[in-house]
Amino acid sequence: MSIFISEETVEGADDGPLAGTTVAVKDNISTEGVRTTCGSAMLEDYVPPYDATVVERLKDAGADIVGKTNMDEFGMGTTTETSAFGATENPVADGRVPGGSSGGSAAAVAAGEADLALGSDTGGSVRCPAAFCGVVGIKPTYGLVSRYGLVAYANSLEQIGPFGSTVEEAAALLDVIAGPDERDATTRKEGADSDYAAAADGDVDGLSIGVPTELVEGADEGVVETFYDALDQLEAQGATTHEVSLESVEYAVQAYYVIAMSEASSNLARFDGVRYGHSGGYDGNWNEVFGRAREEGFGAEVKRRVLLGTYALSAGYHDKYYKQAQDARAWVKQDFDEALSEADVLASPTMPVPPMELGESLSDPLKMYLADANTVPVNLADLPAISVPAGETDGLPVGLQLVGPAFGEETIIRAASALD
């Protein structure tokens, strides 16, 4: 059970803020000359001819890339078990999953295989494995980090985010990758001259923390206990807490999956075996050949999501599913904006459950989808969030999630660093 899909070293520049630092990169981030599989048989032999913007920035900053990490196929999963290259075991919890979909990246940092790592977060794919592996993971505000070179799963939701052993280390990696990119039209000028690492000063005196009751109520008892213990620590350092309500989050998981699957059905259409990837051969008409490439190249979870997404966008169902989900998304955004007008950050358990046992959730996709209840609303709202270790329950890591206002990365980094 491997952390890496490809263990290849790419050396960065001689000096720079990350000189001498090793970084593991999720295998859906394009690396020139190093195969980028997305955890899929479809791209088993695909070697990109170009670097993702974040990879260029890593190299320029002096980081050494040590390998491409295992992940759920195309990011579709919460356990890293849908990878075509096998599962990854949680390095700090025997027999358990590392979380997903960036499970390999979180595991690489937790196991000491790399100092830092990059993942991508579409509905919690950085924060979930950070929580499960007991490391720090940041999901930046949509538009802070360039997605150029990130193989799209759900392009309106996802951001590349950093992992580190400490908040400060993860923040230092965010400093390197953040900022506008002319190759990604959705990036913004924010983050150009950031110093997120400096924000990790542990000062939470006077910080106002809102706790959305809806994100705590359904969680596992041990998780809730650990979560409140961590909040107590923050209060002891001068923070105040109050309960807030996010009524819209009840619909967030459904809305998230409709949007993510709809976008996925379109984003993954390009994998037809003509230009790259698994080929469907040359016999029969092109329709049959495309179908064969996709039948053979995609795993079960990918097929499920592409089919459901195609359905949700189809004439007659578009208004009922896709449009309703967009309305729900707007509501979630509004809800978060309101809650954040009366609190500096919002806190919740990152995951409502501790790491699952290997094999446990593969047969029950719905259960896996529901585990994303606390993370997906943040992607719908385009907001930044961090998962920081809160402690353990029965020897299993628990993560605390802090959500901030748009481009309020400093605030969540400062707050989280008080738990380091």
């Binding site: 799209a152 709809s262 059905s265 379109s266 495309f290």
Partner: protein
């Protein structure tokens, strides 16, 4: 279609067009690759236009500017902001298996274009015009689309900016559709956003249905209901004006015949066979296409509220034609000819600046365009030699060579041999120097003796001798009477 109408035979065609034009920009619409056509396949490509995993589109604002120019030229509404959608369908020439296009917020809406058909001016309403990316191109090897052994894909074209211009069903005759396409091309070329010489730069989908003629009211309007009731066919991917006319004429006849024989018209998509001038059914069963449009989140909406004011457009052909009539006193026919393309009009104005506008009009509209047309050449073929043509007109205007020699010898050799006008004059000895006096006297003698000229023209050959005498007198007897006789006859027989 009611049986009664079919029996009466009073049937009318209703035609609408969807025109795809490639906008002339230096780079593609969503990446920095060149749009210049190249022979070598798959060379003007990059991760973006190949749809490689992870690549993202970035909008070329030059394409939007070109579209705004078109919008101004067709007097369309341009919205506050414009955005892009994905049109999802699988096809081997489509790198991402979706096309980035515009859906409910096109860059242009509700425009119109005035067209002249056989002397009658008509306004064609344009429903919308939107931007999108061109797919790649397919090369079928070893046969046609149905019989090829295999197919090659070339992505050089993928990502070329396209504008799709959709008219309302305002045409009644195929010739009107053709005239519209010619006019549209003319306007686009005037705007400098289109190159008609580029292969595949204009593709037309033409739809046609047949309705009872009495459903058209006095204003020429047809109810939505009538249009909805009539089954229409769409002929896809026609590549020329003439092709559009031919295909529509074929469809009109075919559909009218079906109706007159009491058979219905199948609503379907048809393919135009250019060689046979006919259309054939493309799909045995017309399925409802579902493109699953949704917003392209990779491209944020673009604010264009002030673009219409900000972006200037040049004087358009209709306005220029009217100005030519007023400013240079040209008749409608000459003015129309001279404004048919921007290059011709620009050239005319250059020439008219230095010489008499009438002389300039004759030279450009009749002589130059006539000789070019005879050789199947375009003004663009001689664009770099406009100075030489100006020199030729100058030689005539300054009376250094005869009009006849200028037309029949110098102009033709310039076009056929690529020679300079002065070189031709010298080589052929066409200069009037030395002969000037005699030629002058001949002209004067003709001008001063209209009666003798009239007599000669009425067949009185003796009248020529009177005129020879007049010329001899004027030249002090220095001229050769035989030459004078010849010159007089040349002028008078012209």
């Amino acid at each position: 279609m009611s049986t009664q109408a079919a029996q009466e035979g009073d049937l009318a065609a209703v035609i609408g067009l969807e025109v795809h034009v490639q906008l002339e920009t230096a780079t593609k619409i969503f990446c920095g690759c060149s749009t210049e056509p190249t022979e070598e396949p798959n060379t003007n490509v990059c991760p973006v236009c190949l749809g490689l995993p992870g690549a993202l589109p970035v909008l070329n604002e030059g394409a939007v500017e070109a579209a705004v120019k078109v919008g101004k030229a067709i007097d369309a509404d341009i919205p506050e902001e414009t955005r892009f959608h994905r049109k999802n369908y699988y096809y081997p020439d489509l790198p991402k298996n979706f096309q980035i296009t515009q859906y409910d917020e096109p860059i242009c809406r509700d425009g119109e274009l005035e067209v002249s058909v056989e002397g009658e001016r008509r306004t064609v309403r344009i429903r919308r015009a939107h931007l999108e990316e061109d797919p790649g191109s397919l090369q079928h090897v070893g046969g046609g689309i149905d019989s090829a052994t295999h197919t090659r894909v070339n992505y050089n074209r993928a990502g070329t900016p396209l504008m799709e211009i959709v008219t309302k069903p305002d045409f009644r005759r195929p010739a009107e559709a053709r005239a519209f396409l010619a006019k549209l091309e003319e306007v686009l070329e005037y705007l400098g956003v289109f190159d008609s010489q580029r292969d595949g730069s204009l593709r037309v989908d033409a739809n046609l249905s047949i309705i009872p003629e009495d459903e058209i009211d006095d204003e020429g309007a047809i109810s939505e209901e009538t249009l909805a009731d009539a089954n229409r066919t769409e002929v896809k991917n026609i590549s020329s004006h003439k092709g559009a006319e031919t295909a529509l004429a074929y469809e009109e006849t075919r559909q009218k015949n079906l109706i007159r024989r009491g058979k219905g018209v199948q609503q379907e998509t048809r393919h135009f066979n250019e060689t046979h001038g006919s259309t054939v059914s493309m799909r045995s069963k017309e399925e409802e296409k579902d493109y699953r449009y949704f917003e392209e989140a990779d491209l944020p909406p673009l604010q264009v509220s002030d673009w219409k004011e900000r972006i200037p457009i040049p004087e358009l052909p209709d306005a220029r034609r009217e100005r030519f009539e007023e400013e240079y006193g040209l008749d409608d026919e000459s003015a129309s000819k001279l404004t048919s393309t921007k290059q011709v009009a620009d050239f005319y104005e250059d020439v008219a600046e230095s010489f008499d506008p009438d002389l300039a009009a004759t030279w450009v509209a009749d002589n130059l365009l006539g000789e070019l047309n005879y050789r199947d050449m375009q003004i663009t073929d001689v664009e770099g030699r406009l100075d030489e043509f100006t020199r030729l007109v100058e030689l005539v205007a300054d009376d250094e060579i005869t009009t006849k020699n200028a037309e029949e010898i110098v102009l033709r050799r310039m076009l056929d041999e690529g020679e300079q006008p002065d070189d031709i004059v010298e080589a052929e000895g066409l200069g009037k120097t030395g002969e000037d006096e005699v030629a002058q006297a001949v002209t004067e003698a003709i001008d001063e003796n209209p009666e003798a000229v009239a007599d000669y023209e009425d067949g009185d050959d003796g009248a020529i001798n009177f005129l020879v005498g007049q010329v001899m007198g004027k030249t002090g007897g220095s001229a050769d009477p035989g030459t004078v006789n010849g010159l007089l006859r040349e002028e008078l027989d012209d």
